[in-house]
């Protein structure tokens, strides 16, 4: 296959970026999208240019490192996959493909398609955990958890922290990411003690990072490679309402 690629090139966080067009020949339909970018980079290298920087690691959709907006859709046109799981058979010979980084104030572009997502870590730092010390746990089977709760917790915990939700949200909100972690822990008995505090802390941290506000568009759910439901956002909203009305103060260090 032969493709025309328009790729966002930006030398550094401060630099002004722009789209550059590339013609790429010899693309096999069996290639993954990232194999195709590897091929392009090999070509750019031989032409004396600097390869396109893009992040990736496991290349099987679980590490959450890769992510780019492909033809206007975070992770590309196929549902429930990450960019690395997208294969070129989805495209046709002669296609034009626009490739852009996640765009959000809280995810500054480092270079080309690479963005900085440390804001996600800081949201987790504010309360996305159960406070337990190594070695202080009771026997694992001492707390039975109904299978249904465990399954719902798992569905929320499946988040890979890729940031597609933020990229797709018209408000650049990270509410799906935040709510997924809060929901995961709130379905479990171990997570109850800190539940309201966690909601208050995480929402505050989310806002402080400069993410926008959720206005229930549902775009996040559409692009989420793990199919995480916006229902978890409702659950977090309710916890936050409870937390505030019962006077829980946001705890900062």
């Amino acid at each position: 296959m032969k493709l025309k690629l328009h790729i966002w090139r930006q030398a550094s966080p401060q630099a002004k970026g722009e789209f550059k067009a590339y013609d790429l020949d010899g693309v096999s339909p069996h290639m993954s999208f990232l194999d195709m970018l590897d091929l392009l980079n090999e070509q750019i290298l031989h032409e004396g240019g600097e390869p396109v920087a893009f992040e990736h690691d496991c290349r099987e959709g679980i590490c959450g490192t890769c992510g780019m907006v492909i033809n206007g859709i975070a992770h590309g046109p196929e549902k429930l996959i990450t960019a690395c799981q997208l294969h070129m058979r989805t495209f046709n010979d002669g296609d034009e493909i626009w490739i852009e980084p996640w765009r959000a104030a809280a995810f500054p572009v480092m270079k080309d398609l690479v963005v900085e997502r440390a804001a996600f870590d800081r949201i987790i730092q504010s309360g996305g955990y159960i406070s337990v010390r190594s070695g202080s746990a009771q026997d694992a089977n001492a707390i039975p958890i109904p299978k249904e709760d465990a399954d719902r917790a798992f569905d929320a915990a499946a988040c890979i922290g890729c940031g597609a939700c933020v990229a797709a949200c018209p408000n650049a909100s990270a509410m799906l990411f935040t709510a997924a972690k809060a929901a995961h822990l709130s379905y479990l008995p171990q997570g109850q003690t800190e539940r309201l505090q966690r909601a208050a802390n995480m929402v505050t941290a989310h806002d402080e990072e400069g993410f926008g506000n959720c206005t229930n568009h549902g775009a996040c759910q559409e692009v989420c490679p793990k199919g995480i439901s916006v229902d978890y956002i409702g659950r977090l909203n309710r916890d936050l309402l409870k937390a505030t009305l019962s006077g829980v103060e946001v705890s900062t260090r």
Binding site: G72, E100, R103, T204, R235, L236
Partner: protein, 231 residues
Amino acid sequence: MRRVLTLYRSSVGKKIMMAISGLILFGFIVAHMVGNLKAFQSPNGDGTHPLDTYAEFLREVGYPLVPEGGILWAFRLVLLAAVGVHIIAAIQLWSGARTARPSRYRKEDSQVFSYASRTMRWGGVIVAAFVVYHILHFTTGHVHPDFEYGRVYDNLVVGFQNPLVAGFYIVAVGALCLHLYHGLWSVFTTLGVQNRKIDRIRRPLAAGISVVLFVGFVSVPLAVLTRILTL
């Protein structure tokens, strides 16, 4: 109050305030629509119309326990406050979103979210503009060609006999109902009122209510235009 302010400071809190104020306004709209249907009642024997009587009732209810128009103004103040909160929160959320997404995508595929959700903001602006016009038109009469205080039914029929006015009204009500459709669906998430049953019915529920309201509202101008309702 301090807790409410704390709540309002967070993005989720602003949404919750929007939801609550939205629900108040929704209640008003339902009552308004039901009141409008009184236009279809036949005139009283004395040349007045039940719609006029209803308006009179709204002004006088509670008198002499409270001053005349007291209850009406109390309601108006609550509605005004709700409109204020709804609009201010909307503007703040909007500006927050603009700061959060300073540069847009070159190519945007918006099929991933619904038309109703995308038009919340512009739809809201249209509805707000309409409300101002609507008050100047039917409440204070400033932009009405032939306004007569207290003759609600006559004002209404005269007003809607102008197809342009009726057309604008219908479009605006359409925008309002689209706005309500997404708003009503979304209020469940915002307030975290969720379980499997609710999740199943919330979209048809929001759609059904919006359609009923739309039909109720547009029936009046349509009836005027088709001369079912006359002076």
